[in-house]
Each structure stands twice: as C-alpha cells, then as structure tokens.
Amino acid sequence: MNNRVVITGMGIWSCLGYDLDTVRDALYNGKSGIVFDQTRKDMGFRSALTAFVEKPDLKKLIPRNQRQFMPEEAQYAYCSTRQALDQAGITQEFLDEHEVGILFGNDSVAQATYKAVSKIYEYKDTAACGSGSIFQSMNSTVTMNLATLFHLRGINLTTSGACASGSHALGLAYLLIKDGLQDCIIAGGAQEVNPESVGSFDGIQAFSIREDEPTKASRPFDKNRDGLVPGGGAATLIVESLDHALARGAKPIAEIVGWGFSGNGDHISTPNVAGPQRSLELALKSAGVDIHEIGYVNAHATSTHAGDGREAMAIANVFGDYKVPVTSTKGQTGHEMWMAGASEAIYSILMMKNNFIAGSLNFEEPDEETACINVVAKTQEAHFDMFLSNSFGFGGTNSTLIIKNFK
C-alpha cells in the first residue's frame, strides 16, 4: 500500500504563543521567548537562561482524578492536541467511533520523578508520593494520558530519541499511514520546562551564558554562538491518509512526502557530518524529490559550536551549489528538545502557508564552518511549496522530514 499522508490539524503550546496565529506572528516578527530565570541561578545553574512557557490551568477541563496523572508535559500536550483536533474537525464522537492512534516524542519526566522520590525519602513511605506519581514518572506519560483522555484505540507509543523524538514520532506516523496500518494518528512532541529536567544538561556546560542579553543568547550558525538555551512545551499534528481525510470532509493543510533517519555510530554528544548527511539523503530518496524542489531548510542547529558547524557541512554536501535558504527557529524558541521535531514542522508549515521565511534570529555572521550555507538572517517574504526539517539528538540519532504544501 502506498497511501498519501496529509496533515489536517495543528496545535501548539510554546514560548512563542499558545495558538497558531500568535505563533505565526511571533515567527514573522522575530519575537524571542527566552528569559533569565532567577530560580535556576539560586539553584546553582551555570546558565539561568530558559524559554518561558505558561502552565495551563486545566481545572475546568479535566477532573482532578484524571489530572493527577498528568505532569506538565502531558498538560501542554493536552492543550496542543485539543487545538489540533479542533482544526482537523475531529470530535470526541469521531474518536469514540474510529480507531485513532497516538505517537508522541518525549524523553524525560525528571521533575515528576524527582518530586515522587523526594516524598518517599522524606516520609519513608512509598504511598506518600501519591497515586498519580507512577503515571507521571514514566516517559510514556504523555501518550498514556492522552490515550486515556481522548479514548484512543490505535497505536499508543512514545518515541524517545533525545532531541529527535518529536521528528521520529512524525516519521513513524507517516510510515504507518503510508503502509495502511493506521488511518489517522495524533502525532507530536512534548517537553517539560523546569530546572530539574535540565540541571544535569547545564552541568556539562552546554548552555549559553549570555545572561545579560537573554533574547540574543540563542544564535544558531552565528560566529559568536556559545551554547544552547533550553525550551519546551508541546506541539501536535493530526496525520492521516489523504483518502481518510477527504472521505470525512477534512481539508488537508500539508503533506508529509518523505522521512529519513540515521545513526552516527560515533560520539554520544558530538555529532559528525556523515550521519546527519545520510538522514537528509534518505529523506530525499524516500520522498523521491530533487534537491531543487526544496524551498527551505529548517535546520536542527541549536546554537552550539560543533553541532551547527557539522549540520551546515551536511546541508552543503547534500545541496551542493544550490544555496537553499536555511534558518533555525531555535534562535527564537531555544531548543525545544523532545518537542522540537514536531514544533518545528509546525513553524515551517506556518511559514509555508503564509509565504515568508522567519529570519534566523541573532544570526549576524557565519564562522568558517557555517559560511558554506545560505542562512537567512532577516524575515523575508518567500514562497515555497516544500521544506526539509532536521532534528538530531544525543547518541547520534538523526531524523529528517520532507513536507510539502497542499492546496
């Protein structure tokens, strides 16, 4: 079977905004969601920089006895999923009557685990952590909770692939639907935003210390980049076969046409060039498209010295003389980690549907490695009908999606 795979709904909960219109405008206007968090400084963080994401108040939407199983990342994902389902025109009645699956990227539940174990130590009693803790403390907490809340009866799986988690979720959704194993999947990525989840990441000195200018700290591909800024929230896309979408009267927004992936088989944190390059090449092969059909590359680039440089070389090796426009939205959002693959697909689709490329925030000049690609520094009106989006993670996990417009 070779079904066409389309996206019929999107939802977002991010530092750029809590609905698609606000996020679209934030992208266009180069808004940054990065702040200085005094709590982290007081805790002993080397870098107190983080994206700021509001916690939703779900008291009116979800009863206490269900909400207690949901750590913040599940709550973000609930919000983004409701938006996506609304845009796709999928009601609870539809979910009750049809088999719909869920595939979400998530790779940590640090704060929930920390709180649960602390209570046990404090009271020397395992019941002290409360009945919700076990469900909050598993990586699959997002899919577990959403499958329960929305009565989902299809594939029910969390993909953990470090910072490629969200992209892998979308890629797997694409494969399952293409091959006819599922008609419709809620796919996305979620990321907790709190000191406990990134303390050890700060400990290996991976973060930018440009604390006097938080909004300028995340500067992918720029010569003066000095590390990433952590962020998070959640992003959801409703992915279904074109036939299924049209049969129920839905209007597709975009189409996933290819997924590539690879492993570096190399260092646990420092990427090489060959691994990411193969991910891009496989995506192009999977999509059956020529490089010149790609109008925009949404890079993984996180504002680290090594990572951005290696990705630039991989892009240059694949695209050759064709200087495809490249940006990294992480200049505005920071690194949304497990959410990034899904959120960046949404950011790119918003740009594609609104005929612009958001400037790669804080990119001022390249270094000798990043000079080989065409980084778009300032927002420009631009029409493109197909983009490529990279997500790479620790352990050398790589994922690349190719998505095209649907009119």
């Binding site: 008291k59 009863p63 206490r64 006895n65 207690q68 009271y123 009693d125 002290a128 409360g130 009945s131």
Partner: protein, 79 residues
C-alpha cells in the same frame, strides 16, 4: 491539637487536594462518595493525612474510616 483544629485542618487540606468545597464535608458524609475517591485516589487521601498530621492510616484500618467524623476520631486517637 483540639478536635476543632483537626476538623479545620482536615477540611482545608482535603478541599484543596480534592477540589471540593469545605461545606460538603459534613460529619456523616461518606468520604469516598463526597470526594469521589476511587482505589487510586484513596491512596492520595492517606498521603494527605500523613503529610498534614504525620498519621498513617494502614489499609487494614481504612474500613473503620468511612465518614468524616470517623476520620477526625482516627486522627485524634493517633496523634
């Protein structure tokens, strides 16, 4: 701690934890029904009482703590 203080504190912490109004917690009201407890959230009731009063209600004693009045009795006798 006086019985009145126990009652006030129980109502305050349970109202917050289970998101109910304090006035539904009458002496003879059945705790499980009033707070909409299932087998999982019953664990949370025990945890909240333990955090607040340092009184642990073991599973074997739970059948004797059906109403709020019985809960106050239990806490008072185990402080």
């Amino acid at each position: 701690m006086t019985r009145e203080e126990i009652i006030d504190q129980v109502k305050e912490v349970l109202a917050e934890e289970f998101e109910v109004e304090q006035d539904v917690m009458t002496d003879d009201a059945v705790i499980k029904d009033t707070l909409e407890l299932d087998s999982l959230s019953l664990v949370d009731l025990v945890a909240v009482i333990e955090h607040t009063f340092k009184v642990k209600i073991p599973a074997a004693d739970l059948p004797t703590v059906k109403t709020f009045a019985q809960l106050y009795d239990y806490i008072e006798s185990h402080l």
